[in-house]
């Protein structure tokens, strides 16, 4: 029997995803029309013998999460539970804290995955790889190839090319170590807990030696990457399964648009029913587009490629949308043009307005290039990025909003370029 754990983090994480993460926990942000996490869950639910999916994080229980758990369990016919950490325990600490829950029922192995990745999730391939590499208790990391420069932003893996054993692991090195990077998707056996236990015990002893602050001992976070993988490398315990299939992190809002594109393209195989097609009386579709059935779209609008339209969205006559995510309840009035944007919940864009961002897509000529999740500022200037409208923003008719981030509930009255509008 198998299980899967998804690390969903908490409200203090995902700051690069603001202002969108103010409204919805980042793991529930829609990518290619469905919550980011649903792609993980669908992949897990397809694996034979998968008994349970556990979400571990430090969000307070909230309505969105509860509703998502409820509908996903029904849709995918599998138990999904949320386990809340009392504090951010780190990518390994949460797992360890809930080890009894994970091990109950006696799974031989379980997947662990970061919520903020987009992937084809080659889970069956990882299981097959596991059988053929190392002993039954060994651990598998999903790896992919990055270019030399970008590899420094990830966990880097040096392997034995014959056995695929991980010989060396280093998280975000400052100089080049290897172009094989950690995808944040693992196949573990219960053995992992012995390794985490070692680190846990050592942390406990260190804490006892410290003066308690305000009468409390801090919770020592345990990081899978730095604390566990680095130690296990070269011990004959850790293996890397390298995939050629698509993979990306989803750190910034810009990467959500890129991830949407990857998933929408994949829908041709996995979910053709989710892709809009050109139909009598419907809008003109160019490339891959997801439209929620409740959206109301004028037939003279032109959508795509890479557009996702949420529930209850209204799109007027002669509207153009490309490379964008339109969140539920938004209204795009006649003739407006929306390019490389995320349009927040219940926002309104006026007639003939142009709302445009600059994509930060990976270099298309480098097969190993990944998307850069840049920080907002470079040389104290806002780096041109996709345009994001927070929820309930109003853009008047005929203005242009270029490379800007508009915080929620703003009524703009003029054009803006390269600005954060508080």
């Amino acid at each position: 029997m198998l299980k899967a754990v998804i690390l969903i983090g908490g409200p203090q994480k995902g700051t690069r995803f603001r202002p969108l993460s103010f409204e919805v926990p980042k793991p529930l942000f829609p990518v290619a029309g469905v919550p980011m996490l649903q792609h993980h869950i669908e992949a897990c639910a397809k694996v034979p013998n998968m008994k349970e999916i556990l979400l571990i994080g430090f969000y307070q229980p909230n309505e969105e999460l509860t509703r998502f758990l409820f509908t996903s369990q029904q849709e995918f016919k599998i138990t999904i539970r949320y386990l809340q950490e009392y504090a951010a325990l780190g990518t390994g600490g949460g797992l360890y804290h809930f080890r009894d829950q994970i091990l109950s029922g006696g799974p031989q192995a379980f997947f662990v995955m970061n919520a903020d990745v987009c992937s084809e999730f080659p889970l069956p391939e990882m299981l097959a790889f596991h059988k053929e590499h190392g002993d039954p208790s060994s651990l598998v990391i999903l790896g992919t190839t990055a270019n030399r420069k970008q590899s420094l932003n990830y966990g880097c893996i040096v392997e034995n090319e014959e056995t695929n054993e991980v010989l060396h692991y280093v998280e975000k090195p400052s100089t080049f170590v290897s172009d094989i990077i950690n995808c944040g998707i693992y196949l573990f056996t219960p053995d992992i807990f012995q390794h985490i236990a070692g680190v846990f015990q050592k942390n406990q002893q260190d804490i006892l030696l410290e003066e308690p602050a305000n009468g409390w001992h801090r919770a020592a976070a345990i990081r899978l990457e730095q604390d566990i993988f680095t130690a296990l490398a070269g011990q004959g315990k850790l293996y890397v399964y390298k995939t050629l299939s698509f993979w990306s992190q989803i750190k910034s809002a810009g990467s959500a648009i890129y991830a949407s594109r990857l998933y929408l393209n994949r829908y041709h195989i996995t979910h053709p029913e989710r892709l809009a097609c050109n139909q009598e009386g419907g809008p003109k579709i160019s490339g891959t587009v997801y439209i929620h059935p409740t959206a109301n779209i004028d037939p003279s609008a032109v959508l795509g490629p890479n557009v996702s339209i949420g529930t209850g969205v209204t799109i007027g006559a002669g509207v153009r949308v490309r490379e964008s995510i339109i969140l539920h309840g938004a209204t795009l009035q006649d003739h407006c043009c929306v390019l490389n944007c995320i349009v927040g919940w219940d926002s309104t864009i006026g007639k003939w307005a142009r709302v445009e961002g600059t994509p930060s897509d990976p270099n298309p000529n480098d097969p190993y290039a990944k998307i850069d999740s840049e920080t907002l500022f470079r040389d104290s200037k806002l780096t041109p990025s996709i345009t994001i409208l927070g929820c309930n923003v109003t853009i008047p008719s005929e203005v242009i909003i270029l490379n800007s981030i508009v915080l929620p509930h703003k009524d703009l009255n003029r054009s803006f370029k390269n600005q954060i509008i508080l």
Binding site: G318, D334, L339, E398, I400, L402
Partner: protein, 360 residues
């Protein structure tokens, strides 16, 4: 009566339009700039127009032969071997201007207004001296050379270049009337009438200023061309409102050539001129623009303060603003944004221009 129009400059500031068509033939409100002046001159009784040109232009020559026929007047071209400035051309055309003893008009070809030629003649005859220049009021005199003259009678006292202290808010409007005797002051060499001739005439009490009523604009550069268009259309609204379009889809003053075609759900105006054969597709929004002959605005495009050159095409969902000027036969691909772009003729634009610049 005669008139000399200075049309010799290269019109560099009105590029890229003047790379395809000589400046006097660029249509301003659907009529070549020069014809606005020539027709008004004919109305005032002028029957011989001398065009002072410093470059050879077959197009100009051919067009003038047509206009001679149409208007029943004589139009001569006076060619300079080298540019003679704003006064030298008068010396070159001396024989043409002097064959009777009547006063003659001299015009700078870039100005647009309700031409006051009758009043000029009247005013000139009344004071009886060598020259009259028309002056117009400006808001920021410190940017120009101003004319200081007696409120009573209009005798000019002096000219002050870019005054730092207020002395006058009247500037030379580029329209003059002279007695033939004035030509003795000018030699056949490059000379500036404003800097070298007028100050002397003023000193001798021979130069008078007549104040212009109504609008005036020097349309020698794109920004002013558009401002001048707004003024001209407003004057049409007062004097010939029938020539403007009204009805659903039109806002404010809009001038449309009868051969232009406009699609559905457009919003046009205020202050728009659409030339002959222009096609505006569905759902287009245009304001404060001149669209020249044969150009096409594709559906859902949005234009503000632009000049669209002859036979150019603006793609769907394109946004153009901030004095973007497209030369002749430019193609702007769909969905682009042009902010203050100056695009040379026969160019195809495939990338947005976020900040003002020239596209070679």
């Amino acid at each position: 009566m005669k008139a000399l129009i200075l049309v010799g400059g290269y019109g560099t500031r009105l590029r890229p339009l003047t790379l395809s068509v000589p400046k006097p033939l660029v249509e301003f409100c659907n009529k070549p700039t020069l014809l606005h002046q020539v027709e008004a001159l004919v109305q005032a009784g002028v029957d011989h127009v001398v065009l002072a040109v410093s470059y050879m232009s077959d197009v100009l020559e051919k067009e003038m032969r047509i206009q001679e026929q149409r208007l029943g007047i004589r139009i001569s071209l006076s060619h300079e071997k080298e540019p003679l400035g704003t006064a030298g051309p008068l010396a070159l055309a001396r024989d043409l201007l002097c064959d009777d003893n009547e006063p003659f008009f001299v015009l700078n070809s870039d100005v647009i207004c309700d031409f006051p030629f009758q009043e000029m003649l009247q005013f000139h005859r009344n004071h009886g001296n060598q020259g009259t220049i028309v002056v117009t009021r400006v808001e920021e005199p410190s940017k120009y050379g101003v004319v200081v003259f007696e409120a009573e009678g209009g005798r000019i006292q002096r000219f002050v270049e870019k005054p730092q202290v207020f002395v006058s808010n009247k500037i030379n409007a580029g329209m003059y009337i002279f007695n033939p005797s004035m030509l003795q002051r000018i030699q056949l060499r490059p000379t500036s009438i404003e800097k070298e001739i007028f100050p002397v005439m003023a000193e001798e009490g021979q130069l008078y200023a007549m104040e212009l009523q109504g609008f005036w604009m020097d349309i020698g550069q794109p920004k002013d061309f558009l401002t001048g268009m707004c003024m001209y259309l407003q004057s049409l609204r007062q004097h010939a409102p029938d020539r403007l379009c009204t009805g659903p889809g039109f806002l404010g003053n809009v001038l449309v050539d009868p051969s232009a075609r406009i699609g559905e759900n457009c919003s046009i105006g205020p202050n728009v001129t659409l030339g002959a054969g222009v096609v505006v597709e569905d759902g287009v929004r245009v304001r404060r623009c001149t669209v020249l002959k044969g150009a096409r605005l594709r559906s859902h495009s949005w234009l503000d303060s632009c000049i669209v050159g002859w036979n150019s095409s603006v793609g769907q969902w394109v946004r153009m603003e901030n004095v973007t000027v497209l030369g002749e036969d430019v193609i702007v691909n769909d969905e682009l944004y042009l902010n203050g772009a100056n695009v040379l003729p026969h160019k195809s634009i495939t990338d947005s221009v976020a900040e003002p610049r020239i596209i070679m």
